[in-house]
């Protein structure tokens, strides 16, 4: 019931190919992570929508196999 950082990165980058992604583990338990995701796909979206897009990218893992992902999203300006 956990995810490796590579799995999380893979899913996010698949959904946001242009993303600049920083992922760190708070605790080395494969269950508590912190991510900063910057992508041009967030342009014009509210914060709630931006986070929903990332959760969508995680395909149902958020809140289930992945317990805690502290998330920060930013619009990537070219």
């Amino acid at each position: 019931m956990a995810m490796t950082s590579d799995q999380i990165k893979g899913l996010i980058l698949e959904a946001f190919p242009d993303a600049q992604l920083e992922l760190s583990a708070f605790q080395n338990d494969n269950d508590h992570y912190s991510a900063v995701v910057k992508s041009s796909a967030f342009s014009g979206k509210s914060k709630v929508e931006q986070h929903q897009m990332v959760y969508e990218a995680l395909q149902g893992h958020m809140g289930t196999t992945l317990h805690a992902l502290s998330l920060k999203t930013q619009v990537l300006v070219e």
Binding site: K47, V48, H51, Q52, Y55, G60, M62, G63, T64, A68, S70, L71, K72
Partner: protein
Amino acid sequence: MRTILDQIQDQVNAHDVLLYMKGNAKFPMCGFSSVVIQILKNLNVDFEAIDVMQDNEIREGIKVFTDWPTIPQLYIKGEFIGGCDIVREMYQTGELQALLSEKGISYKAAEN
């Protein structure tokens, strides 16, 4: 037939500031819920907290209602504001305080 989603809608309508959380305001059972409680307390905002651990239907229902997979979830005047990360970011930038003012909800920032 009334569903759990109707019941959640009633709760959201009934309280200007409503937090779905794990545990209660005195004893949050999760670090993320605790952060939001601390922010609301720092702002001296009147709020209602619903402990999702007391009711599994609410716990699962709120995720569907909001289309948001995690708890806590903060509602202000019926509008979903965000989870812990968004609320903390808005508090730090002052956006949360601006939103409360705009919605006519009184708050008083704690002295540092």
